[in-house]
Symmetry: C2
Subunit: 224 residues, 2 copies
DNA sequence: CTAATAGTGTCTCTTAGACACTATAAA
DNA sequence: TTTATAGTGTCTAAGAGACACTATTAG
């Protein structure tokens, strides 16, 4: 016997670091339910063009946030009878991590919001967001994930501040540098240094061209 | 505009340890496509009775394998245009880890198969199985997951052999015991020991009553 | 006694964590 | 000079890994 097919959507937690805090990208809904509300970017799977849910996520990110994220991972699937007023629904959720965008986002249908202020969002999007932030914080402890928050060129000091801002904790400089070197995902840009400050210039680094999106260590960063 | 709703199923990788090797529980399909083939236990979401996908997974496990697993976790969602001949489909997959069942499974619609021999399964079930086994091996390195493979009472030696069989590597006894003690998920059964072998009896242990399903360490077990 | 497995003591070597030190810029 | 940040050297304490030792049963 057959059952009614659930509603299937793909929702994306798009994260970046602005003003020293994690921000999530939100879009304004143009349909009921929750018409006019700010939610995580999401949409239906287009069964005629999306090869799979990953492609649907990349398409939605492109259409709603106008960007292509090199780091886009499935988070988990949220489902239930009551999470959407239209019926039994299922959301395959993803999280993306991108460098701070330059300038204000184009259009009125997209904005960045600090994740710590987002206690309530329509549907179960607050829970999805919370899960994504937890995942990112946890991966930050033992992986190179925060490198995706950095611009093309950056210093080790800036990378450490990024880790610290994601974790909400300070790290020892020596230990941090040892760890990053082990992960082997960034490289010096020969001869490139910062300039301008009244202090010693810093070596600029970039992601290694062929490094995997994520490298993991076998132990956690020491936090507090 | 609306799109055709994808086919939604829940599939479960049910794992146990028999004869020193990981085995997966398979059920025989009684419908097309792949009629008569052995596949991962799975089924439709029953939108009228399942509160969410977790409940659907528990129901399917109960109906098809006749058991209730204390450890049942979402693995990930597999989807695509071509993974099921009936159309664009999506499978929310789960993995469960249970002690070796006593006796042969009841019925002809269920059997255990060694995971290493399962190179090909209908749909993308071989890939789902591979992903689950990877996940279990990886969690074995830093968590108490294999405790769910143990019967109600067991020795530390048996637990170590379980870890070793899942990992396919030998572990140092001292280090292993230190690690298990840190995880703090099992306890001695006062006065209970093995008997019968021509050697010193071993203390019997059990899961702690209120321990969480999974405890994690901050570093990996040392393997080769 | 031997054989076999259970369980503990402990030494060494690695590494994390702390922190002091030097380096180099601008004012 | 001072101030600020970049970057390195290195000591120490904790812990992992190795492995030898004792304990307790049956035969």
């Amino acid at each position: 016997m057959d059952f009614e097919r659930p509603i299937v959507t793909v929702d994306i937690v798009l994260l970046t670091l602005r003003d020293s805090h994690l921000h999530a990208g939100l879009t304004r809904r143009d349909k009921a339910p929750a018409l006019g509300a700010w939610t995580l970017p999401g949409g239906w799977v287009h069964t005629d063009q999306d090869q799979d849910a990953d492609e649907a996520a990349a398409r939605i990110l492109r259409d709603k946030a106008g960007l292509v994220s090199p780091y886009l991972e499935q988070l988990r699937t949220f489902s239930g009878m009551h999470r959407d007023s239209r019926g039994w629904s299922l959301s395959v959720s993803y999280y993306a991590v991108v460098p701070e965008p330059v300038g204000e986002p184009a259009g009125e249908r997209f904005r960045w919001a600090p994740v710590d202020g987002l206690r309530s969002l329509p549907f179960d999007h607050a829970q999805i967001l919370r899960t994504a932030v937890e995942r990112v914080r946890s991966k930050t402890l033992y992986s190179s994930l925060p490198v995706h928050l950095m611009p093309a060129e950056f210093t080790l000091g800036a990378l450490q501040r990024t880790y610290e801002q994601v974790l909400g904790a300070t790290l020892d400089k020596r230990g941090f540098r040892r760890r990053i070197e082990e992960l082997d995902v960034i490289e010096e840009i020969p001869g490139a240094f910062t300039s301008g400050g009244s202090h010693r210039p810093a070596q600029l680094y970039r992601k290694k061209a062929h490094a995997p999106a994520l490298k993991t260590a076998t132990s956690n960063l020491p936090v507090g």
